[in-house]
């Protein structure tokens, strides 16, 4: 609220030039035009699709690999150096390279998101699984659990709520990568609209785009939180 108030005072009061910062009402109006006349919904759809697609591919590979690394020391020793190194490579720096390799099509967007989220996911999941309470593992063994069922019945369920939390966090980062990818080379998407608007000095549209990103991020965050409470009711117990 405070944010909107300051913004309104700054723009309506004439303290900031309209060229640099549009006022809230213009922003809402042009947002409406964007959606009704310029097919902005399709842009939003494209961006959401890219984030979800790239993120799902990353998660689908990172989950089993992360669990395997957390559960078996030799597997961790084998992959850890490479993954640790790779996670410090900024995904955005790969964009020019990816454009050369796969062009500016959808593969490039998916690849940026994949690089940006995959290595983070693997390492964080491996750590969580590796930190499973030792006494629970021992209890499972004394109840006759085999190594395979230890992974399935103890390591995974024990780490599941934290893994869901990691997914939620990294999905947020994936949003940053997609916009960067779209700013650099794209013909659709929210980031593309933002670059276009910059050329037209349409700050109202840029701000609208940013707010849309924020709202979508917030919604996906809430969905994740809701799902966590729903699927892992035990994890919240005793925290309050």
């Amino acid at each position: 609220m405070l944010f909107f108030a300051v913004w309104a005072v700054a723009t309506f009061g004439g303290y900031v030039s309209k060229t640099f910062l549009a006022d809230p009402i213009t922003m809402v109006k042009s947002g409406y035009t964007l959606i009704t006349e310029m097919g902005f919904l399709k842009d939003i759809g494209m961006t959401v699709w890219r984030v979800v697609g790239g993120f799902l591919i990353a998660a689908a590979i990172a989950l089993p690999l992360g669990v395997a690394m957390g559960a078996y020391k030799p597997i961790e020793a084998f992959f850890e150096p490479f993954v640790s190194f790779s996670r410090y490579l900024p995904a955005s720096a790969f964009i020019p390279l990816l454009i050369l390799w796969v062009g500016i099509g959808e593969e490039q967007k998916l690849a940026v998101i994949f690089i940006g989220s995959f290595f983070q996911l693997v390492l964080m999941i491996a750590v969580v699984v590796g930190n499973t309470r030792r006494d629970l593992v021992e209890a499972a063994y004394t109840l006759g659990a085999s190594d395979a069922s230890l992974v399935k019945r103890v390591l995974i369920p024990s780490a599941a709520p934290e893994i869901a939390e990691i997914l939620r966090m990294v999905l947020g980062w994936a949003w940053t990568y997609v916009i960067v990818a779209e700013l650099i080379g794209a013909s659709s998407g929210i980031g593309y609209m933002i670059t276009n608007s910059q050329a037209l000095l349409a700050t109202d549209q840029i701000i609208f785009g940013i707010i849309v990103i924020g709202v979508i991020g917030l919604v996906s965050d809430l969905l994740f939180k809701f799902a966590n409470q729903r699927f892992f009711p035990w994890a919240a117990l005793g925290k309050a």
Partner: protein, 261 residues
């Protein structure tokens, strides 16, 4: 006929930049079927180490542990364990925790539930079947852990100070409870504790261990008849036995403190 034979078992902990620590001297112990052996000793005397070796969670440096004549090599469902820390699986309900080992054995679901329900009843948790561990008191969690271990129908039960984290009153009730379960089922039990009262009240045999490096200093039959009522704790015989053991343990505690100082 002994069910468990501990023969010349010792444990040395290797450490970097330090001399290795001898935690457990070469130890022999024969456990007969239906024995309820309580192992007493000062903290750090290697009594938990001995129990963990029997459980297969730790490996001895020398010697052998035999269960029914077969060498123990790693943990297994034939030795149920109850830990001092609360080790129920927090994502499973009381009933599902008790089913854990049964499901591992691949029993049909119907059978799992029948067995689990019967143990819920034995440990007095009817009405709490679908509670999660964090919704239970410490005493109830340990009763569930006991039910989980017993439901697996192990050859013997290993208990590592299972009531150590409970308050005094709950602890005494749990002792009576465990004793009555043992009197009914006659499971062979190895029970580690540092509480002399507890050791004398429940055990059919008390083993006292010395300060580090641990070794068995005293092995004594407890003559009180079963079923035992909690009121025996106030009898003169009980007090005399407790007094004798207190002297023994005290000497070891002082010795172990001298080691630290």
């Amino acid at each position: 006929m002994s069910i468990l034979s501990i023969r010349g078992v010792s444990r040395t902990f290797e450490a970097k930049h330090r001399a290795p620590t001898l935690a457990l001297e070469s130890t022999n112990l024969e456990v007969a079927e239906n024995d309820f052996i309580t192992i007493l000793g000062p903290s750090g005397c290697g009594k938990s180490t001995l129990l963990r070796i029997v459980a297969g969670l730790d490996r001895q440096t020398s010697g052998d542990v035999l269960l029914d004549g077969k060498v123990i090599d790693g943990p297994g469902a034939d030795r149920g364990m109850v830990f001092q820390s609360y080790t129920l699986f927090p994502w499973l309900t009381v009933l599902e925790n008790i089913c854990f080992g049964l499901r591992e054995r691949g029993l049909p679901r119907e059978e799992q539930l029948t067995i689990a329900h019967s143990f819920v009843k034995k440990v007095g948790l009817v009405g709490f079947e679908s509670h999660f561990p964090k919704q239970l008191s410490g005493g109830m969690q340990q009763r569930t852990a006991l039910a989980r271990a017993l439901a697996n129908n192990p050859r013997m039960l290993l208990m590592d100070e299972p009531f150590g984290a409970l308050d005094h009153q709950t602890r005494e009730l749990m002792q009576e409870h465990l004793l009555s379960i043992w009197e009914a089922e006659r499971k062979t039990i190895l029970f580690v504790t540092h509480d002399i009262d507890e050791a004398v009240f429940m055990g059919s045999r008390v083993v006292v261990m010395s300060a580090r490096p641990g070794r068995i200093k005293l092995d004594r039959e407890i003559p009180f008849a079963h079923p035992r009522h909690y009121s025996i704790k106030t009898t003169a015989d009980f007090a005399a036995l407790k007094g004798e053991l207190t002297e023994q343990v005290r000497a070891e505690v002082i010795a172990s403190q001298a080691l630290v100082a």
